[in-house]
């Protein structure tokens, strides 16, 4: 694996509930870039992400992250993962949640206040998650991942249901982190989010339809926007299949 590759996936097969969710896919993700993993719901994005962070039982294939096999003990402080549903203690306050995770990561207490500011939860810092909205809970979950300044952030649909101003802000934060050298893999089912990414992986029914820069994808398909480009790629795929029969 070349040093500019943060993630390398080779022939990954994952079966969930008897169904082959990822049928032997391969891909690479560059270091220090924001890569968007786009595709409709139920397409295998979360399964791929889980395999990358090493919590998914895989049938076969190889997943290498920052030069180590996915899920290695050494990666646990270098890679941070945010699940789609906020995984925080709902009966604790924002600050109590962050204090716990900060102590696991051994980061100084000042960092807690910093990440609370990053996700705009200063006013809610001493409220229990149960008393916050779903979007605010998701931001606590995201703040937790930012605590340890990880080399890689893997975020599963982090901007769903957020206010547009905040969403724009978070994207600025993500691009800022990448500028400082972090690698970000961000999944979304909203095609418009593609404009914020350096690279895109378009996924459908367990397959990677395309992997390229957003503009290159628009140029190649001649589409006006990402939604259109996605449709064209599906069409092309069908055409190729028919041609092969």
């Amino acid at each position: 694996m070349s040093p500019d590759r943060a993630i390398s996936v080779t022939d990954l097969n994952v079966r969930r509930g008897g169904k082959l969710v990822l049928p032997g896919i391969s891909l690479e993700i560059e270091r220090g870039k924001v890569t968007g993993l786009l595709g409709p719901s139920g397409t295998g994005k979360t399964t791929l992400i889980r395999a990358i962070v090493g919590v998914q039982i895989v049938e076969s294939g190889e997943v290498t992250v920052l030069g180590e096999p996915a899920g290695s003990a050494g990666l646990r402080s270098r890679v941070a993962y945010v699940t789609q549903a906020p995984s925080v203690y709902r009966d604790l306050t924002v600050r109590e949640n962050l204090r716990y995770f900060a102590r696991i990561l051994d980061v100084p207490a000042e960092r807690i206040t910093e990440v609370i500011e990053t996700v705009h939860l200063g006013e809610q810092a001493d409220q229990e998650i149960d008393n916050l909205s779903g979007g605010q809970g998701a931001r606590v979950s995201l703040a937790t991942a930012l605590l340890g300044r990880p080399e890689m952030l893997v975020l599963d649909e982090p901007t769903v249901g957020l206010d547009p101003v905040l969403r724009a802000d978070l994207w600025r934060t993500f691009t800022g982190l990448a500028a400082e050298g972090a690698t970000l893999l961000i999944s979304s089912h909203v095609m418009d989010e593609a404009v914020h990414c350096d690279r895109l992986l378009l996924m459908r029914e367990g397959d990677i339809l395309a992997a390229s820069a957003p503009q290159a994808l628009l140029d190649r398909t001649g589409a006006a926007d990402m939604e259109q480009a996605f449709l064209k790629l599906i069409e092309e795929g069908r055409g190729a299949q028919r041609g092969g029969e």
Partner: protein, 245 residues
Amino acid sequence: MTPRVVGATAQRVMEQLRRDPRTLAMIIVVPCVLLLLLKGVLEGQPGSFERVGGPLVGIFPLILMFLVTSITMLRERTTGTLERLMTMPLAKLDLLLGYGIAFAAVAAVQATIVAGVAFGLLGVEAAGSTIAVVLLAIANAVLGMALGLLASAFAQTEFQAVQFMPAFILPQLLLCGLFAPRDQMASVLEALSYALPMTYAYDALERITTDGSLGGRGWLDVAVTVGATLLALVLAAATLRRRTA
């Protein structure tokens, strides 16, 4: 194992318990009320309450901690916080020990208050030291917690977790010698009672409250109780999987 992470986990579990004063109150009040009830029920049988009252002080923590822990741990599994922790630099043992310390502390408070009520107000008498009863109660609470951690792995919902109480704990309570001396039971049941950890917990307590000291056999009981706790913890650690389907 990292002491910092163990401490952080213990503190977090305590904070969660503190947020739930109703549960805390029930942990303390319910055993006291049950003892009072039992005193009334056994009024017509002189000596009966005196015989079972002392050992019960040490058995209540086992039952309650089993319930509280199995549900707390199940929540950790279902809300995704366990999966998050498994991607972080935290050893399984850190998590289990953190739980152990927090619940042992709660059990110490519970056992002290319940012992105070039983020996001070309800006229329960112990031939041996009441401090030994409290110490055994704490050991039993940790055993209950370890069994609860293990049981939580087999429950998918809180409904199931609650049902494990009558399924796992009630038979042990029936066979431990509290309701009838074990040598007067059907021989199959007597043999079975040797395989159940609560039998040893009860036997040690009975020796302190009736004979006044543990004796060789009583120390063996304590050793078996501690051994069963460690075994349950090891098995529980094995059910904590970093990778899941």
